[in-house]
């Protein structure tokens, strides 16, 4: 694992003073973070802290209320629609549900980005699809429909589709959620080997502590709209922040409320 932090100039994505609200709820409040080239950066935090929202902000599907999301120095929010779609062709994203196109076969799903962005002849597309499916261990599943795949296979096909165009950046939204230990192991091995083989810049959004600590180079812990802690896995384990400690140990006691905020029960005096 590469724990050395490269210099700032090697950042692919730079998030500067980002603020984002949904209705009255503040999701991010003046957050800044950096995604470095060729590294696996993990964004961790309790459920509902807006981790997936961050991926959507990077993908330009949401626009920040304040601040900037810079891809190679260019602000994603101010890009024209055609520039934005061109920028997205450089990114791959693995959705939590896989999000395969249900009316297409596995083959057509993986071939979809190739057909959309290249003019390759069919025999080359077939070769690339076979290679990508091979890399996720699913060669031979070309003619299966998404409904015929198990949850783990579904996610692996989605991963093959996400890397079909050899993107510079790949974003994983909760890749381990709801997977059995074997699939989890397969996925984390895939994430690591893809990073090494393709020199991919990787962002993982997850709340699976053990699996993420084992593969990430750098981690941001996000809660209550702010970055509560950051560092390499080793640094985080020694982190002083009570948020980080509570999150890593999975304790109910700590600054993050287990209970949803509600009105207090009436006191005995009032009831009597």
């Amino acid at each position: 694992m590469n724990n050395q932090i490269p210099s700032q100039s090697q950042s692919l994505i730079e998030i500067k003073n980002l603020s984002f609200k949904r209705g009255e709820r503040i999701i991010y409040d003046n957050v800044s973070l950096t995604i470095r080239r060729g590294q696996i950066t993990a964004i961790m935090g309790p459920s509902g802290t807006g981790k997936t929202t961050l991926l959507r902000l990077i993908g330009g599907q949401l626009v920040p209320d304040q601040g900037q999301v810079l891809l190679d120095g260019k602000d994603i929010a101010t890009m024209s629609r055609s520039d934005l779609f061109a920028a997205r062709a450089r990114m791959g994203m693995l959705f939590q549900s896989g999000a395969l196109f249900t009316d297409m076969t596995t083959y057509e799903n993986v071939a979809f980005p190739l057909r959309a962005h290249t003019k390759l002849p069919e025999h080359l597309i077939a070769e690339i699809v076979a290679l990508k499916l091979e890399s996720v261990g699913l060669r031979g599943a070309e003619q299966l429909m998404p409904s015929e795949l198990s949850g783990g296979m579904n996610r692996r096909v989605a991963l093959a589709r996400a890397i079909a165009l050899d993107p510079e950046l790949i974003m994983y939204d909760e890749p381990f959620a709801g997977q059995d230990p074997i699939v989890m192991g397969v996925l984390s091995r895939l994430i690591r080997s893809l990073r090494e083989a393709l020199d991919l810049t990787t962002i993982i959004v997850s709340h699976d502590v053990a699996e993420t600590l084992s593969i990430a180079d750098y981690i941001y812990v996000v809660a209550e709209g702010k970055v509560q802690g950051e560092g390499t896995p080793a640094e985080l384990r020694e982190h002083a922040s009570p948020f980080v400690r509570q999150f890593l140990t999975g304790s109910i006691e700590g600054p993050v409320d287990y209970q949803f905020s509600h009105q207090a029960y009436l006191s005995d005096e009032v009831r009597s």
């Binding site: 959507r56 629609r81 997205r88 062709a89 791959g92 196109f101 979809f112």
Partner: protein
């Protein structure tokens, strides 16, 4: 005060929705067709148009049969059953074919479009398409909108033709109206430019309204099962109300003596 604030919020939401839907419509109508877009359009024509033929044909037949029966029973009292062809054809071409075909289209194809696009949104297929760098407006919404706009006028013509044959079946074949007067009455009273073309113009307007509402409701629906159900219902309700409302306005302009 809360009620006023709520009303204001609702109005803002509605106006915003209309704005978004209009931008979406303009983006689709004024984008250049591509080779892939044309093949997707033909596929959707099959799903939206050809697959609606059965319900349109059967409904057209029964409407024609009923018109033949009702028309005959009214006209025979004043000895004018020879006018049956005129009555059936003008009723169908000017009003019933465009309106009933549009209402059936909203129920059969519109609801399916909303549910399909809504489910794609709920299962993140639209988001993943966006992240692949393919615009779902062009890939998913545009072929469906164009297929609806083109197929409903065709279905309306088929509806009217089958209805006229249905009226003939009851009036001429069963009730004994003279076949020559059925067809010649129709020929002398129906003006192509006035009746047929205006009926087709109506159906083009209804096609645009129904398909636009259907694709927008799917595209903007809340990505939950309840959200899809609400949007599908809205598609049918809004489309039906808009078709009936616009029919009154168009009839007033086309046939109502408004010069």
């Amino acid at each position: 005060m809360n009620a006023i604030a709520l009303l204001g919020r609702r109005v803002i939401e509605r106006v915003r929705g209309i704005g978004v839907a209009t931008v979406m419509l303009l983006q689709i109508l004024f984008s250049m067709p591509t080779k892939l877009g044309i093949s997707l359009f033909i596929y959707q024509m099959h799903r939206i148009g050809v697959m609606s033929l059965l319900i349109i044909g059967v409904s057209g037949l029964f409407i024609g049969l009923v018109l033949g029966l009702q028309g005959y029973s009214i006209l025979v009292n004043v000895g004018s059953e020879a006018m049956l062809g005129t009555m059936v054809s003008l009723t169908l071409l000017r009003e019933l074919a465009p309106v009933v075909a549009a209402l059936l289209f909203a129920g059969r194809a519109g609801s399916a479009l909303t549910a399909e696009i809504g489910l794609m949104k709920a299962t993140e297929q639209l988001s993943s398409m966006e992240m692949i760098g393919v615009d779902p407006l062009k890939r998913i919404v545009s072929p469906r909108l164009w297929a609806g706009i083109v197929s409903l006028p065709m279905l309306t013509v088929i509806f009217a033709a089958i209805g006229i044959l249905g009226g003939k079946m009851v009036g001429v074949d069963f009730l004994g109206v003279d076949e020559g007067s059925y067809w010649s009455g129709m020929q002398s009273s129906v003006q192509f430019g006035h009746d047929v073309v205006n009926g087709i113009i109506k159906s083009i307007v209804f096609a645009l309204i129904c398909t636009w509402i259907a694709v927008y409701q799917g595209y903007a629906c809340e990505p939950t099962s309840e959200g899809i159900a609400t949007s599908t219902t809205r598609t049918v309700v809004y489309s039906s109300l808009c078709v009936l409302g616009f029919d009154f306005v168009l009839t007033a302009v086309m046939f109502g003596g408004v010069q």
